[in-house]
Symmetry: C2
Subunit: 287 residues, 2 copies
Amino acid sequence: MKITEYISPLRENIEKARELGKTIILIPTMGYLHSGHLSMIGVARADDEDHEKYYIVMSIFVNPIQFGPNEDYEKYPRNMINDIKLAEEAGVDIVFAPEVEEMYPDGQNLTTVKVSGITEDLCGASRPVHFEGVTTVVAKLFNIVRPDVAYFGQKDYQQFMVIKQMARDLNIPVKLIAVPTIREKDGLALSSRNLYLSETERKQAPELYQALQEGKKIILGGEKNVEKIKEIITHRIQKKTNAKIEYLEIRRAENLAPLGTINNTVVIAVAARFGKTRLIDNILVEV
Amino acid sequence: MKITEYISPLRENIEKARELGKTIILIPTMGYLHSGHLSMIGVARADDEDHEKYYIVMSIFVNPIQFGPNEDYEKYPRNMINDIKLAEEAGVDIVFAPEVEEMYPDGQNLTTVKVSGITEDLCGASRPVHFEGVTTVVAKLFNIVRPDVAYFGQKDYQQFMVIKQMARDLNIPVKLIAVPTIREKDGLALSSRNLYLSETERKQAPELYQALQEGKKIILGGEKNVEKIKEIITHRIQKKTNAKIEYLEIRRAENLAPLGTINNTVVIAVAARFGKTRLIDNILVEV
């Protein structure tokens, strides 16, 4: 496995792989890899253990511009040495781990890519600069790597939908794949931010997923009234945890549009604060 | 020469040319071709009359989102049949002339690419949505065509600088070339909008260039005070025409930064209204 901090050698290595006819796969991450990331590599590497068909590029970059001024950019966990070990074991071909200066030379970031319409609510409501930071850095990574395929975690469902919208609108020729969320045994969605949880918070956190599961059961049981389902889920989280719910929404899975009656595949999405730690989760319910 | 309205066959043709090892050149236009456009094709086609080295893609698209609500989108001149004839004679390989629906399906344009810092003044002051519309459509064209090289007219100097900034910031791997402005014998910069001028306005319009030339002479003569030079040029335009000057600025050519004293290569840029017709022009002065 190769490792580089710089765009130019990264591109050279990718071009060599492309000339060999390999499919270029990008997995963008902020590092501090856990089984969720490794699962993405696993899916990407499937039936190509000999590295003959796919060239997997994993970027590791804690992107400053997607963090708000009061968010956890500075304290976001980092562990490059361990990340490199895990990436190599999982089958990555090259790790791109740039410094901020390589991505934003001279601290300059005059150009932004912004998606409207699906970034203003859900996570966007409490994180107003977040998605603009995400789409800008992902557009840059797409231009640097020119991947044929890119993988994202389904845990960040809104993020995935926003990136899909951006790729479609800007005619970026990349196939986007969402990889199912990996969970602890008790159901908690893996996230680098789980590290921040106190012991009590950690014990309560799986309730988010249990509540989403209950919502799913109710929907599959035939309940169609969105407000009613939301109330039941919300009530359950409030009863079983001390978390402050930021949002609990049921939306059309296809485009995140609000709906009053369940009449199609939906996503139930939640964000909640356990103390200072903000966790998100979601599940799809096919109807 | 091939002609297509659709992205998919365009890409297929480009990929064939790329596989033959040809350099892909993009010339984005809004059509109604004049000698300024043809000069760009000529520069691009230079020393490759046999179409062996370069594959020249010319897009013809009057991009609605770069026009403000009170601007001339509807009446912007169009002449596709003549454009196709001229493009073929000049040596274009493929014309991409999409309908609005092909570029913005379902009228949707949720994603915008925006450059800050150099879009707010000069032309941006009177055309607040203009550059965002330009950078968005050019980003799309870059993703559709994936050119190795793209040509733009120097007449739209600010536009060229904005696109350069975008390409740098978003890591778009394209070489950008500004082609010198082509002029009528009397000095008027070629523009599709010259068509709008009345006979009197047409007679006065070359004064813009004459005034810029006088500014250049003064600078080369050693004058360093920017305000003083601006006053002389402005006064001359006001004396010799009925035009309403929108701006007359002297900026660092490199980055359009304002300056008080001439100490480097500068661009003298002007925008003025002759009746309802807005004309722009500029010249570079190497110091």
